[in-house]
């Protein structure tokens, strides 16, 4: 078995900046690396670019310690305890395996202690060779209070659940207790030195006392307890990675691999839904054995992007005789818009949302949605064999809870130009990154200069970055946006920017970022929308920044209000053609339809569904904010029964939510001008990118982009007067 797998940090790297390439090489002594520019997702799309990384490299294995936990460093100042008590609230969500609660353990020397759950849910305390289990089993999805103690003078160990009489035993000879290992919560060191036995579920209020106290009042203030060493209060600094110790010694910890905070704790009563209003009711952390923030691989290649490298999509091409990997990254311009007036905005947060999507492997039956067999590609097979690469925002954790975070600091096998997906439609299956490379290929073929910008860049530089460009073209599916990005787009349009939204189901979900967890996004699938899982009641606010999550529409910002169209339906097998409407003959939009036949269907072929309109489609709707002067210039309808209306349109389910049974299942193409001389053109269809090779689709798109690059302002006031 040979395999090459890489990831890069960061994803977006400007000339003069440095890229780190991390590689795991299985069954290989060496591998070759070279730089390629990606100008198409299809064969021939990799253009070799001579560079400093070109060469042969020594191969090595790199592994991933998946699973979240908390770590409190000993630091040489942790008290050398001779007796202790641990108290902790526990809400298990997946029993059936050993899982750690609290441990300070040097497994090689046998020093220290560990408290864990046995496979049946009984808490068990071990100190040296002495160990005792509680009589009671913890139940899944119910809070229990666990107290465990050890007396170093007598060797007595106790463990008790919910105030019941403790189980006791006496260890002899007296085991060695003090060790320099870090104190871990929700995981423990294994015999091989790795950290494992990750806890599945929620923990709250762990504390440590320097005395053996077989019973601890669960409602007592930690500070009132005699001999308090540390009490970790998870309701503090919920947005960060620090775990605050409110005890006398300040043994603050850090969270590893992004466990979920801002979740309901044992005190939650259902009266407050926003964690920042009652943090004490959100004093729990949810841990998963399949949480992953950082693979923590060491770099094998370090590449400083040359000053002269043109902006574009690139990849570190790794190869060995029977293995290869192309690890993409995005190079923006050193000085945005010095060379090109057009930005191609690649939705990297949406790539992150779909990163390592496991739905085709064991998700909620995408075969029924696709209405055909699910087709797997090499990336999917590798994900099935390597669960340690972590999950996407579409997946659920092993305990059934939704995956709230996705990080780019790990191999992301869905971000590959050759990867295809079931969602991409027949015959091509291009999806997200690969579909956006269809737009790259079209820009290259049309000879239109462009520079790459990404979500990370807009997040940082906002409207200032966008404002450097006369026009911006989106990818095929810019679905996940943060508040700064949404604001930046609105401001760009307000200041006269031109936006060609060449996709569908865009501007849909709200996500959040955090300076404490760079490279990660957070999503709460709150309230409404097409959801592969649903956020728990009371957990609709992001931990990262305290803002309300879910659909932008449910945040009062429907996509129609920003770009004229918004998500209305999806179907994943075939697409349709648009047909021009009467409004397409309005002189205001004559520039777009120059040379486009008046009576013929628009976009009758394409890689993604065999047409220009489909897969995920948008419609105009004045009630949702489509500007009243917007022109609906083309529409596609007559979709087959594999198309389903968006959930957020359905108040009461009814037998008219599929195919051509509802007029809401249609794709609308919209154009409108903005007051400052700018304009928006939205195609309302994910399939559009795959149909750019169709002459009419290509012609229309080129007409729009070239006019958007023309400095002449779009008239606006006269339109208002006419109406």
């Amino acid at each position: 078995m040979t395999r090459l797998t890489g990831y890069v940090d960061p994803w977006t790297v400007a000339p003069g900046e440095t890229l780190r390439v991390m590689v795991d090489a299985e069954g290989l002594d060496r591998f070759d690396a070279r730089l390629v520019r990606l100008i198409s997702p299809d064969p021939g799309g990799e253009i070799h670019v001579p560079s400093a990384i070109e060469g042969s490299y020594g191969a090595r294995r790199q592994s991933i310690a998946i699973g979240s936990y908390l770590e409190v460093a000993d630091g040489g100042r942790f008290p050398r305890l001779t007796a202790f008590t641990i108290a902790i609230w526990v809400f298990p969500t997946l029993l059936g395996r050993e899982q750690a609660l609290v441990a300070k353990l040097d497994p090689t020397g046998g020093r220290g202690f560990a408290l864990w759950l046995d496979p049946e849910g009984r808490p068990r305390l071990a100190v040296g060779s002495g160990a005792v289990s509680a009589l009671q089993k913890l139940a899944e999805r119910r809070w229990s209070h666990v107290v465990a103690s050890f007396d170093g003078e007598t060797g007595k160990l106790t463990v008790a659940v919910d105030g019941n009489p403790p189980s006791t035993t006496t260890a002899a000879p007296l085991p060695p207790l003090a060790c320099a290992a870090a104190l871990l919560i929700a995981a423990m060191p294994q015999a091989d030195g790795r950290i494992g036995r990750n806890f599945e579920g929620r923990l709250e209020g762990p504390l440590l006392l320097a005395a053996a106290t077989p019973s601890v009042d669960p409602e007592a203030s930690p500070q009132a307890l005699p001999g308090l060493v540390a009490a970790w209060e998870f309701s503090r600094e919920i947005g960060g990675d620090t775990i605050v110790d409110v005890g006398p010694l300040g043994f603050h910890g850090r969270a590893v691999n992004l466990p979920t905070r801002a979740v309901r704790g044992r005190r939650w009563r259902g009266e407050e839904m926003r964690w920042s209003s009652r943090p004490d009711e959100y004093a729990a952390i949810h841990f998963h054995g399949d949480d992953l923030y950082d693979a923590n691989w060491s770099p094998d290649l370090i590449f400083t992007v040359p000053e002269g490298l043109p902006s574009g999509v690139y990849a570190a091409a790794l190869s060995a005789p029977v293995a290869e990997d192309f690890v993409p990254f995005f190079v923006p311009a050193r000085r945005p818009a010095a060379n090109a007036k057009l930005a191609l905005w690649l939705p990297t947060f949406s790539y992150l949302a779909y990163a390592n999507d496991h739905c085709p492997l064991y998700g909620s039956n995408p075969e029924v949605l696709a209405n055909r067999l699910i087709e797997l590609h090499p990336g999917d097979l590798a994900l099935a064999a390597h669960p340690e690469f972590g999950l996407s925002l579409y997946d659920t954790h092993e305990d059934g809870s939704g995956v709230v975070f996705s990080s780019r600091r790990r191999p992301v096998l869905t971000l590959r130009h050759r990867q295809r997906a079931w969602n991409g439609g027949l015959p091509g299956g291009h999806w997200n990154f690969a579909a956006d490379l269809q737009i790259v290929a079209w820009l290259e073929a049309a000879g239109i200069d462009y520079e790459i910008i990404t979500d990370e860049m807009i997040e940082l530089s906002g409207a200032e970055l966008l404002g450097a460009y006369r026009a911006v073209v989106t990818g095929s599916h810019p679905e996940y946006l943060t508040l700064p990005i949404h604001d930046a787009v609105a401001r760009y349009l307000k200041r006269g920017g031109r936006l060609a939204y060449l996709g569908g189901n865009g501007f849909y979900w709200r996500v959040a970022t955090s300076a404490a967890w760079p490279g990660a996004i957070e999503l709460r699938r709150a309230e409404d929308g097409n959801r592969s899982w649903a956020a728990e009641p009371g957990e609709y606010y992001h931990a990262f920044d305290g803002t309300y999550g879910g659909l932008w529409r449910r945040n009062g910002r429907p996509p129609q209000a920003l770009v004229g169209t918004g998500y209305t339906a999806q179907g994943f097998i075939r697409a349709r053609a648009f047909r021009r409407t009467a409004e397409s003959f309005d002189p205001r939009v004559a520039f777009a339809f120059s040379g486009v036949p008046a009576d013929e269907p628009l976009g009758t072929c394409g890689a993604n569904g065999g047409g220009a309109a489909g897969i995920e489609i948008d419609r105009a709707d004045p009630l949702l904010g489509t500007p009243r002067h917007a022109l609906v210039v083309a529409t596609a309808d007559g979709f087959d029964d594999s198309y389903f209306l968006a959930n957020e349109e359905i108040l009461v389910n009814r037998p008219t939510v599929t195919g051509d049974l509802t007029p809401l299942i249609r794709a609308d193409m919209v154009f409108f001008e903005t007051p400052a001389g700018g304009a928006v053109f939205s195609v309302g269809s994910i399939a559009w990118a795959g149909a750019l090779g169709d002459p009419t689709v290509g012609r229309l798109t080129e007409n729009v982009v070239r006019r958007f690059l023309d400095a002449a302002p779009f008239p606006f006031l006269s339109i208002e007067e006419d109406r």
């Binding site: 492997l361 064991y362 067999l373 097979l381 064999a385 092993e398 097998i573």
Partner: protein
């Protein structure tokens, strides 16, 4: 053996494996396609747009089993082959 009604559905699927399907056939397909992930048939692309084999999902945390004995040069053939396998597994009848 399949009833005359079932025979009609089979013939319809044979003609047009990618639909749109009549309601009765779609209902049958939804049932055949709704097995839990472990053991479920999938298509595995060997050469984009040209060659496929079948696979069986292993479920969470498990690799995909590759069924290399049968190769397909178009998706419709593979759809029919899986339909035959599922029919056999569900109804105990060989319609292939």
């Amino acid at each position: 053996l399949p009833t005359p009604e079932q025979r009609t559905l089979i013939e319809e699927f044979w003609r047009n494996p990618f639909g749109p399907h009549p309601a009765a056939l779609q209902r049958l397909l939804n049932a055949l396609r709704s097995a839990p992930a472990p053991g479920k048939y999938v298509l595995v692309c060997r050469e984009p747009g040209r060659e496929w084999i079948l696979g069986r999902l292993g479920g969470r945390g498990q690799p995909v089993e590759l069924l290399t004995e049968q190769r397909f040069t178009n998706r419709a053939e593979a759809e029919r082959a899986v339909f035959v396998r599922r029919w056999r597994e569900r109804f105990g009848e060989d319609i292939g």
